[in-house]
C-alpha cells in the first residue's frame, strides 16, 4: 500500500467518523431533551402524579397545577389549523404543480417566501387585523347569521360569546402559518408524479379532480403526509403567534371562541416569573408537549408503514 493510498484511507475514515458523530449527536440531543425536561419537572410529577395531566386547575396562589387546559388548547388550535390548511394547501398545490410557467413561478416563490415570515409578524398581524375582523364579521356570521351557536353539536365550535380572541382565531392564524409548508411539499410531490401515470388516469376518462384524488394523491401520499407532519409539528409548538391572539387564560375553554392557552404560549407567558412548584409544572408542560410531538410522529410513521402494502408500496 503506497503513501497516497494510506493517506486517502485515513481521510476517508476520519470523514466517516465525523458523519457518525454528527448523526449520533442528533439522537443524543433528543434523548437529552427528554431527560432534562423530566428531571426539571420531577417535582410536579411527584406531587400531582397522573392528576397533572387530567386536572384543569391552574392556581399559582394555592400552588396547584393541572395541564389539561394547555393540552386541550394545543390540540384544538392544531386541529382547527389542519382542517383549514389541508384543503387549501391541496388545492393551491394542485394548481401550482400544473400552472402556466409565469404565474406558476411567481406564486411558487410567494409560497416559499410566506414560509419565511417570522411568527411574531403573524402574531402582530393577527392581533391588529384578524382579531377585530373575527369579532366583527366572522364570529357573528357563524354564530348568529347562520345560527350555529344554537345547534347542539356545533356549539362547542361556534359559541354564543365571542370577542375575537381565543382558540378559533389562533387556529386560523396557525393555518395560515403552516399552509406554505404543506403547500410547498405537496407541490413538489405532485410534480414528481410520472406524467404517464397521470395520462393513464386521464386516459380512462378521469376528470382533473378524480385524477388528483385517486391517482396523484395516492401515489404521493407518503411525501404529502411528511409535509403535513412538518406543518403539524409547527402548529403544536408555535408560541409567539398564538400568544398574541389566544387570550392566555389558564382555564378549560367552553367553546372554540373562548379565550384559552396552549402549552407553548403558557410556558412563554409564565416561565420568566415562575419559581418552585410552578416552574416545575411548566417544565412538566414542556415534557408533555415534547412527548405529544414525538408520539404523533411515531404514530404517523407506524401508520404509513402499516398501510404501505394496501397502497401498493412493495417495500
Amino acid at each position: 500500500m503506497n503513501a497516497v493510498w494510506a493517506k486517502k484511507n485515513l481521510t476517508d475514515s476520519v470523514f466517516r467518523m465525523l458523519c457518525v458523530c454528527c448523526a449520533g449527536f442528533t439522537g443524543l440531543l433528543m434523548l437529552a431533551f427528554f431527560v432534562q425536561l423530566y428531571v426539571e419537572s420531577y417535582g410536579a410529577w411527584e406531587k400531582f402524579g397522573i392528576n397533572f395531566i387530567i386536572s384543569s386547575e391552574w392556581d399559582p396562589s394555592r400552588d396547584v397545577y393541572g395541564a389539561l387546559p394547555g393540552i386541550v388548547g394545543t390540540l384544538s388550535t392544531t386541529a382547527i389549523a389542519l382542517v383549514i390548511a389541508l384543503p387549501l394547501s391541496f388545492a393551491a398545490a394542485m394548481y401550482l404543480s400544473d400552472a402556466a410557467p409565469l404565474p406558476g413561478a411567481v406564486l411558487s416563490h410567494a409560497v416559499d417566501l410566506l414560509a419565511a415570515i417570522p411568527s411574531v409578524i403573524y402574531g402582530m398581524w393577527g392581533l391588529f387585523l384578524v382579531t377585530p375582523v373575527m369579532q366583527d364579521y366572522v364570529q357573528p356570521f357563524f354564530s348568529e347569521t347562520l345560527g350555529l351557536s344554537q345547534v347542539p353539536g356545533l356549539r362547542l365550535i361556534f359559541g354564543p360569546d365571542y370577542n375575537g380572541f381565543g382558540i378559533f382565531t389562533a387556529g386560523v392564524i396557525l393555518a395560515l402559518m403552516i399552509m406554505p409548508y404543506i403547500c410547498a411539499v405537496m407541490r413538489d410531490v405532485f410534480r414528481m408524479t410520472p406524467p404517464m401515470l397521470r395520462e393513464s388516469a386521464y386516459g380512462i376518462g378521469c376528470t382533473r379532480w378524480e385524477t388528483a384524488r385517486d391517482v396523484v394523491l395516492r401515489y404521493g401520499i407518503r411525501g404529502i403526509l411528511g409535509g403535513v407532519f412538518i406543518g403539524l409539528g409547527r402548529a403544536l409548538g408555535e408560541t409567539m403567534a398564538v400568544l398574541f391572539v389566544i387570550g392566555n387564560v389558564m382555564e378549560m375553554p367552553e367553546t372554540s371562541y373562548s379565550g384559552a392557552t396552549t402549552i407553548a404560549s403558557a410556558i412563554a407567558n409564565n416561565f420568566s416569573e415562575a419559581t418552585g412548584m410552578q416552574r416545575s409544572a411548566l417544565f412538566a408542560l414542556g415534557f408533555i408537549l415534547l412527548a405529544m410531538s414525538f408520539g404523533i410522529q411515531v404514530l404517523a410513521q407506524y401508520y404509513l408503514h402499516a398501510t404501505g402494502a394496501k397502497r401498493g408500496e412493495s417495500r
Binding site: G203, I204, C206
Partner: protein, 251 residues
C-alpha cells in the same frame, strides 16, 4: 364499409414546430393497425390525438378532422370523458394505479357505470380473463397492482382499459419495457382483443408489426408515407423509403 376511425388532413403542432403533416388514415373495425417508423417520426403524436390526451399540455394543437364512427371528435362538442371511455390507451410502461389489483380494474367501472358490488366483481373477473391474467392474479386480487411483474402489470392495465368497455384500444409501444416472453403473451392477447375491439399499436419492433397486425402505416418525418395491408407493406412496399426502413437501411 365505414371506417371505425378516419383521420382527415391531420396536422399537429408543438408550439411553432409542426410535427404532423396532412395525415390521412382510415382504420378498419376489429383489425389491428400498426404504426411504424423511425424515432421522432410522429407515430406516438399521431396516436395521442385519438383520445385527445395531448390536450393536457400547453402549446399543443391539432388541425383537421378525426372521425370516430363518422363523427368528428376534435370539435368542441365532444364529451371528452366519454371519448376516453370509448378509446382506451396503453402506454410504453405499465401504469397500474397505486391501489389493489381488484381496484385497478374496478376503478373505471365505478367511474363510468352505476353497478352493484357483485356486478363490479363479475366485470372485474371478466376483464381480467379477457386480458388473460385472471389465473395469475385471482388469489391476490387485494394485493397491490405494483407488486406484479412488468408483463403482468401491463396486462393489468389492458384489463383496466377493457373494463371501461371501449371500442378502440390504442397501444403506444406497449411492450417496449417488457421482456420477450411477456411480450409474446401480450401479442397473443392483442390478436384475441381484435375480435372485440379495434386495436391500434405504435411499435418500434417491425417483426411485431408483421406478426400481429392486419394493416400497417409507415410514418416518416410526420407524414404517412405508405399505408396498406401488412403483408403488402412487408413484402411489396410501393415506396423506396418504406422498403429502406423495413429492410433496416435506416431508422
Amino acid at each position: 364499409m365505414q371506417a371505425k376511425i378516419e383521420a382527415r388532413d391531420i396536422c399537429f403542432y408543438y408550439g411553432d414546430h409542426q410535427a404532423l403533416f396532412n395525415n390521412f388514415l382510415s382504420v378498419e373495425k376489429n383489425k389491428i393497425t400498426a404504426v411504424i417508423g423511425p424515432s421522432g417520426c410522429g407515430k406516438s403524436t399521431h396516436l395521442r390525438i385519438y383520445n385527445r390526451i395531448f390536450e393536457l399540455y400547453r402549446n399543443q394543437r391539432v388541425t383537421g378532422k378525426l372521425l370516430l364512427d363518422g363523427v368528428d371528435i376534435l370539435g368542441p362538442d365532444t364529451d371528452i370523458l366519454e371519448l376516453r371511455r370509448r378509446i382506451g390507451m396503453i402506454f410504453q410502461k405499465p401504469t397500474p394505479f397505486p391501489m389493489s389489483v381488484f381496484d385497478n380494474v374496478a376503478y373505471p367501472l365505478r367511474l363510468h357505470f352505476k353497478l352493484s358490488r357483485s356486478e363490479i366483481a363479475d366485470r372485474v373477473e371478466d376483464a381480467l380473463k379477457s386480458a388473460s391474467i385472471w389465473d395469475e392474479v385471482k388469489d391476490k386480487l387485494s394485493s397491490s397492482g405494483l407488486a406484479l411483474s412488468g408483463g403482468q402489470q401491463q396486462r393489468l392495465c389492458i384489463a383496466r382499459a377493457i373494463a371501461a368497455e371501449p371500442e378502440v384500444i390504442l397501444m403506444d409501444e406497449p411492450t417496449s419495457a417488457i421482456d420477450p416472453v411477456a411480450t409474446l403473451k401480450i401479442e397473443e392477447l392483442m390478436v384475441e382483443l381484435r375480435k372485440r375491439f379495434t386495436v391500434m399499436i405504435v411499435t418500434h419492433n417491425m417483426q411485431q408489426a408483421a406478426r400481429i397486425s392486419d394493416y400497417t402505416a409507415f410514418f416518416h418525418k410526420g407524414e404517412i408515407v405508405e399505408y396498406n395491408d401488412t403483408k403488402t407493406i412487408f413484402t411489396n412496399p410501393k415506396c423506396k423509403k418504406t422498403e429502406d426502413y423495413i429492410t433496416g437501411r435506416f431508422g
